[in-house]
Symmetry: D2
Subunit: 419 residues, 4 copies
């Protein structure tokens, strides 16, 4: 059968059709192989915005698509920079594309939601890095430069800044993408416009001063996305219940109870110490996705443990508690009363599985740490907030803080008393 | 705690934000309750276009959103018809909205893909109807008119035609929606434009003759969606592998082997006779969704059975076979050879788990059965294809037929010989 | 020929296709007749954004389309309010549509630019009102209610508020429309979203509190449109030259010189007192449009008068002066020097035809005069800036002030000295 | 004043904001100068789609913007081809951009409408070429290569094919642009998608075979634009009246009557022989735009000549005749009767100023002359219609023919008799 060997060689060119950015071409074989790798394919089964699809039913898009989008924005950015005369080598181009493609590869199920629950206290960036190193071994060191850029060890800073800064391509992709899939038009960002305005001076990323309003628009859009999507009271609530359900499951396992679940999820619910990520941990992790969680919750709806049952049913059937966003937190005293009411209603001892108050905090723009730099027509570079004709920046350079509370539907009215 | 009873009453008004159609308001309490019902919430976990997200990574949208979209189009259509003087009662309006909201409630995991595999030989419409009847009992007969419209038993035909005909709201929603999420712009349909042109004469649905080009555009878009999405060679291939994996799992269960899976999926893999849908069947069905399939495939990647293992791994890791769309089918003789090669390569006896040829057939427009009716300025009603200034219709009134073949990657080159 | 009399009756239904809002249906005969009227058809030849198409070449859209758009937004708004239970009579509906349709009918060529130049000191609203009164006579008093609403004499305030307030439909249309045609995506406003949030309490317009971010987005978009379009330095400069050219032409006529021009424009350049608008004034006005100005400037490029010649050529050939937006004004002393340089260069005595400094002022939101009202879930109505979860409003309640200067290209470099 | 000489140097970089294609950067000084040239600036005052804004009020866009759009598509296309390895020199790039930028520079007022009326029998392409040659002199021969490409004298054919062929960038721009501004969504073309699929084999333009559906979509969209926009009965009618008005004006001048008009227009209405374009002709032509026509029609509304008066008023006030699109032409006999009726009604002798029947003909795809070439995966190049999986092409390879008639409103009913 030698005669067709040649043809079976897989064509490593590929074009993705992204409803947000249009065609995304893969023309590099290494990048093609990374995308094909099971570690990366797993991102197809990780929701980009956690349980936000409970609020915005269109938001079922995945980390997989976001990662491709980031890489495409990198492609467009580097092309634009090269047209402006910035020298970028083939190796740098490939490495920066790989770095942004893989920057989220360590995200677990439901992205941020379960970050610290499933793998005790390990941040997803650490897992990303560990997986990138594993891939680097597998691909004979071809990812070394990408890892350096990812870790901000490469001397030409702008590559890292494109991946992680106050105006990085990660944000430019996810704000626009999440706006597209949620339908929250207030959050739409014209990423191409900003990219057109990017330039490099002394290996630092700068934005052409005439793009000032695009940046202001981007910063205001980001705030709108936070309050309308990422900090939407129902998203925050659903996420809280998800975390509590998994905590409860862990506790039950710890107590020696049997819980129906996939073996992969069971691995993570029964192991407690991940302080140094072992290969087995990563192997298991690479098989874990949203469907493990969903199918477990499906089953736990009928479990003997009342707390687990209520939590699971609330999520699966989308019967979520009442929640509120408030300018000030409720006092401990009030929280105590709410706990007591909850415990009465459910006839349980641990009301704190169901009552949750947390602080929501966003700093729209940090003018002190790594500020955005503008390039004036004169060639001078200045900090964003020193620009004459800015309108919003100064107002955006301080924290916006609000509080979220959720309580069981059955005592939903009760909370009104304290507001 | 009486004092807050009043406030805990759930507000049954709701607004969904649909990225395709914008805001969708629910102002009817019954409809609100139906949407909240677990039967309907399950649709949140059923992919609208099966495994098409393997080709178009944005296409992760669900049956849930499509069902809401259909209802919204019904809302817009009825509002427009009322403005044109068509009498529509409140009961008819509610019933037709409910009928289209629930028309797909019987879809199993991955929508069409597994229709006849999981529940042997039962069409999803039958399950939809059975679930609607169950809901009708639960809601004290309030769905009776909706069911009549769904079954085309209601004398005012246009209500049923809006749900099921050659230019129904179901198609107007899914073509546009699938175009939006896949990024296949060729398939985009201006549904509002067509709806604006709808009218009712003698209780039959007609389209204003000046909308002729919108209809032609709609028919051409539909064809583009078929060849670029629904019949895309990779979608068809992935679907075939999915079906074969589940068939294999059924066989293994039948033979008495143990397979890791969720209890819900196990129920369907081990039961064979669904000829009369029992309540238990429906109860189990209402818990079955895409995550059961995905988490099972995840596990089966490492199963002892080679066939199941290869199929599952191919899907999960997206290492799909080579496939082709052809104008003519391969001969049985060639298929036979391909089977032999496959069996050799995999060292198995049942190559037909991996080799698949099928006919893809689409009739763009059926001019003989229930043709689309046009309303001329003179008040006369004529069949679409009799319209003077149509351009494409005549060419569209015959079947387009192609053939699909897929073979394992390892013998991908082999197939070239026979083309 | 009696036999075809019947058919020649004009069909007074009409559908416009608006690229921004989609189909706009006219189903009222009176409105149809008003749109057909030469006064209204004239708006087809009046640019919506003056000479902004010199900066944004797509912005060639007209007052005609904007007026239709406003009427369509009124249609959508009233439909939405009626669905929410607000009673609106057929007469009120028609009158409020007419009022907004005609609110800009008094705009002269290039909209705002020439407002006080061509018709000395008469504001376009006064002309609008006078034309509406003339139409009211012609249509036997059928516009009386529309005029009352326009003049804020009708007791149900919300109708007037929809036409003129801090969140009126006029702004909702033009911001979105100007954003669409200029391509300035920062200015895009989701007008439907805001309209969906509108309600009426005690005959006053209120916005549902959950629409808070849409309002904030609208206010920020408005600022972006001001700085990027309406106050764009080149738009402001081109407008200044246009005004100066017409002033110069008036002066030359006054001195008894002959100027080539259309008779209509000549009427306005030679008459000086419009303090009470005469019928002849209005008759002439109804024939005046952008083409009178453009064809006059074309001819004046070759006129003997140097000042007129330079100004006209600058506009027609788009060789505009150098301009700047500054945080602070130049001192009189500097302006004086610039004048002297200009007079030297051009060898003329009146440099002030070419040098221009003006103040650009925008109050994003006026929290003291007629504030936007929000409707809380509790039914309470509060002022926008008292809302807990607002982010930008407070920062937007004060004037933003900048200064614009333009000087001839030949001394463009000179201005740098003083900055 | 030497000290600021340096700064007054005009910055020849420029970015246009196109609502259709986004940012268009000009980075070449020669191209900048050509755009600044009065010949090119004149296109700002030439409507792209003639009087189609009488049907689609948003369609006020200009030749200027279309020309920039074409150049931008050329930029994107060449960039894409270079990424695919096609060698393109800097000179070729500049020349092909200039060629497409200037290809329509010879369009007179209202684009196609008045082509053969104002300048007797001279096609706009001839004027384009003559103007390009004049510019070539002015710019010292720097346009020679551009002119060669424009005239198809350059051996690398694909450059000319990108400017003029069955799938040229001119069409890709205007179909999409006209769809955008008219709101006729059926005509929208995904130009970037098709460009991505373009390649060059042996200096001939080919399209990647996987783009087959994009091409089919493009061809169907083109037909939709023809029937909905370019051949819309009201556009055709308005254009006819415009032509007749100018013909009548010419006749009156010829008879020695005085007509109010701009000197520029008068030049063209009184001169009859343009067989060899003189410099004075071109000088005058470069001052002629839509405003000359509009301001003349404004004045002619009140002229003594009844025919001119009726025609002018019909256009300015948009009181257009009744018109129809028909599958077959009316017989000469019927036309004769319509003429008699018209002459009776208007009490004139030349009814043919008001009665018009013409043939509308479109060949969607010419499969015999310069067919579109497809590039198969195998490297083979075949004609479009020989492609296996095409759906519509064969049906599109023949003429579609219809007929248009318009008659005065007063006898509009009369025409019904003969249909």
């Amino acid at each position: 059968m030698k005669e067709y060997k040649k043809e079976t060689r897989i064509n490593k060119k590929k074009i993705f059709n992204d409803p947000v950015l249009g065609f995304i071409s893969i023309s590099d074989e290494l990048i093609f192989d990374l995308i094909e790798h099971p570690y990366f394919q797993r991102l197809r089964r990780i929701s980009q915005t956690g349980l936000s699809y409970y609020v915005y039913p269109g938001a079922t898009h995945t980390r997989f698509l976001h990662a491709l989008g980031c890489m495409q924005l990198m492609h467009i950015t580097l092309r634009s920079l090269k047209e402006k005369g910035v020298y970028i080598s083939k190796d740098e181009e490939r490495a920066s594309k790989i770095a942004i493609l893989l920057h989220d590869i360590g995200h677990g199920p439901f992205s941020h939601a379960l970050e610290s629950t499933i793998i005790n206290g390990i941040h997803h960036e650490k897992i990303s890095l560990t997986l990138m190193k594993l891939l680097n071994e597998e691909f004979n060191g071809k990812l070394s430069l990408a890892i350096d850029i990812f870790l901000d060890k490469y001397p030409r800073n702008f590559f890292h800044q494109l991946i992680s800064s106050q105006i990085d391509l990660d944000r430019l992709d996810y704000l626009r993408r999440d706006s597209f899939f949620t339908g929250v038009s207030e959050g739409n960002v014209n990423s191409e416009r900003i990219i057109t305005m990017m330039n490099v001076i002394d290996d630092e990323l700068v934005i052409d001063a005439k793009g000032i309003y695009s940046i202001e628009k981007y910063l205001t859009s980001r705030i709108f996305m936070y309050w309308q999507v990422y900090f939407h009271k129902t998203s925050v609530t659903a996420e809280f219940y998800l975390i509590e359900a998994l905590k409860r499951a862990k506790k039950l396992f710890y107590k020696g109870q049997e819980l129906p679940t996939t073996p992969t999820l069971q691995y993570f619910l029964t192991k407690t110490d991940f302080s140094d990520l072992k290969n087995e941990d990563l192997y298991q992790f690479s098989h874990l996705d949203d469907s493990d969680i969903i199918s477990a919750l499906q089953l736990w709806q009928y479990h003997d443990d009342k707390i687990l049952r209520i939590l699971s049913k609330s999520i699966i059937q989308r019967k979520l508690p009442v929640s509120l966003i408030m300018p000030k937190p409720l006092t401990n005293n009030v929280i105590e009363k709410l706990l007591i009411e909850t415990e009465k209603i459910y006839n349980i001892k641990k009301g704190n599985y169901f009552i949750h108050q947390n602080k929501l905090n966003i700093l729209p723009y940090n003018s002190t740490k790594d500020p955005i730099k503008l390039l004036l027509k004169s060639g001078k570079v200045i900090d964003l907030e020193k620009m004459n004709n800015q309108v919003f920046i100064k107002g955006l350079s301080k924290d916006i803080i609000k509080y979220h509370i959720c309580v069981p539907r059955e005592i939903g009215g009760f909370i009104q008393r304290f507001l």
